[in-house]
Symmetry: C2
Subunit: 372 residues, 2 copies
């Protein structure tokens, strides 16, 4: 709600107030290039996950490079994307409740919108909302491909739900949502590859039955930054939902990548912080704590300062343990690599976009707080 | 940034969209009563921490009951409080950097403002900013009373810094900031009591020297919800900075309270969530994950649903494990008790204030995201 801006275009990075969410544009664009190169020649489309960035400016840059659209987790995120000029949004999640379904159906009058379902009652409610809005809504069946979160079981249960969708007058069965979220942070390449092979088997088991039932399956969509190349070459998936590749957070960086074929994306997203206290030789305290960087997947990493480790976060403090070599004084500014990019982005209202040490742009995070 | 509101005044709770941050006004007011009763007859003032609520509507209610003002962690939080009508704010933290110091000094022209310092260079910068703004700024010395975060060591180092403040033309030495943050969540009462006794010894060691130096110490301020009654009866502290007592989160609820003398504050803050998926008998998935409830101090607790445990959070999903008795269907709404109230509040733009099952008010969280 604060109208304060920590930066202005043209400022040098050293002048940017802290904490601020910094996007290194060169690194960000190299990550986009790496993704493009890794998919060159493959018959697969990318539909990047906008839950990671929540920013139409980024979505439009992804689409300009050939992304088919974006996916979102929430109706209000999808609204923010459409408001920002994105023409094609998949809500890669279930949407429940009359208020949300009404908004979702209304959104389908302004953009190409699809949504997922894993419950027959919800399919009925989706049909009713679409009918009331006078739209035909694309609905995908979410299948549990091993993450054990949402989704119907593969095979007959998925087919039964697809048939319920196909029978609904205001809905169109648009394929399978098959995201193996639990595979993304398995550290070893072989574990991730095996998890995606198992997911693919579950999808195939389902598409064979969908074909037999005469429904077919025009689209299988899923995948994340940790595994997307395995889905890409599976022959099973049509769309990839990777999101974090543009930023590469500290948790993803802990994965093994060698031999995966997946490029080493580089860190482009940072929390810009100031040393606010330097009480003893081996401790510095920065002004970026839990409200500046989400620690759900581990503490942030200190970038570019040898021997400094971020060891403890409280609301507005981050405690750094300093080894012998680390030189930090009160007032020094430094970059932190967030442990988990998605919930960290959700703490900020703008990216301070930096190139060559200068602020080139401020991009509003218009879906910040869009949890509905 | 979303203009969407999940609730309107007069709505029944069951109609409120999810996720929403619910404040149970009866429970909130009982917590205010409990705090008042626990301090009745004691010569101590309360200066509640506004980092917990970030809401002038709440600050003004605390002040109407006798709070001397509020404390904040950041300059922008203090600005939001003053903008909302709070006349007295202590920034219970160091403020570093020219841009922030300029704003802090400007704020001191609009309200009674004080700030902490633990570094001689910072004292010089504070003096310069106060001089430029034409104000005399109250500065407290932050003393390390055992938390090992910010703060100079007690005794001679604290006195030297107090003298530097007292010598500064545009500053006034206004006392000691002595917050033992590491004590607040020690589970056993005896451990918390012992930590505060040790903190009090460090403060006394310092105030004796301040008296000898002819500076004196008009104010010792500190304490949190976990220990405040120990500081209140210490004879050492003048102000208590408890914040979480108004909400009582799941982490604080894990403390032992019996024999502490501190009342059992009750949960008044909830995340209102919807069951969005019910894929198998023992699992429900709610629409409130990492972006709806901070998990830094543990998962949220499910309120009022026997046998349901929140076991895993991803960005926009919370997985509940269900015991035999739990009855939950897709579309059911339920209350979650956040693990840690402060960073959870910081995810939302408003409290949906409920009394007797009806929405009585919507209070804006005007300092949401105010990290500067």
């Amino acid at each position: 709600m604060s109208a304060y801006l920590p930066a202005a275009v043209g400022m040098s990075l050293s002048e940017v107030d802290t904490p601020a969410l910094i996007l290194d544009l060169d690194a960000f664009e190299r990550n986009l290039d790496r993704m493009d190169a890794s998919l060159a020649g493959k018959k697969i489309r990318i539909r990047p996950h906008a839950k990671s960035h929540k920013c139409p400016e980024i979505a439009k840059r992804q689409i300009a490079r050939g992304a088919v659209g974006v996916c979102c987790q929430k109706t209000s995120e999808a609204e923010a994307m459409v408001d920002g000029g994105v023409p094609d949004v998949l809500v890669a999640n279930e949407v429940v409740g009359a208020a949300k379904l009404k908004r979702l159906a209304a959104l389908a009058r302004r953009a190409r919108v699809a949504v997922c379902a894993d419950d027959a009652g919800n399919v009925g409610a989706l049909d009713e909302a679409a009918r009331a809005a006078g739209v035909k809504l694309d609905v995908l069946v979410e299948v549990n491909v091993g993450a054990n979160r949402c989704g119907v079981e593969p095979g007959a249960p998925a087919v039964a739900l697809a048939q319920a969708i196909a029978r609904s007058k205001s809905l169109r069965f648009a394929g399978l949502q098959a995201y193996q979220g639990a595979a993304q942070h398995l550290r070893k390449v072989d574990e991730r590859r095996a998890a995606i092979e198992a997911a693919c088997a579950r999808v195939r088991q389902t598409t064979v039955l969908l074909d037999k039932a005469g429904i077919g399956c025009e689209r299988v969509t899923g995948a994340g930054t940790g595994t997307y190349l395995f889905e890409a070459v599976s022959g099973v998936y049509h769309e990839l939902q990777a999101g974090s590749y543009i930023f590469m957070d500290a948790d993803y960086a802990k994965n093994e990548w060698t031999e995966s074929g997946i490029p080493r994306f580089e860190h482009s997203l940072f929390v810009w912080a100031t040393v606010m206290s330097r009480p003893v030789a081996d401790r510095a305290v920065v002004d970026a704590g839990l409200k500046a960087s989400s620690v759900d997947s581990g503490m942030p990493k200190v970038a570019e300062v040898e021997g400094a480790e971020y060891v403890k976060a409280s609301d507005e403090h981050g405690v750094l343990k300093l080894g012998g070599a680390a030189r930090l004084a009160v007032g020094d500014k430094l970059k932190l690599i967030p442990g988990h990019c998605d919930p960290t982005v959700n703490l900020y209202d703008q990216y301070v976009c930096v190139r060559g040490g200068k602020v080139e742009a401020i991009w509003p995070i218009t879906a910040r707080g869009a949890v509905w």
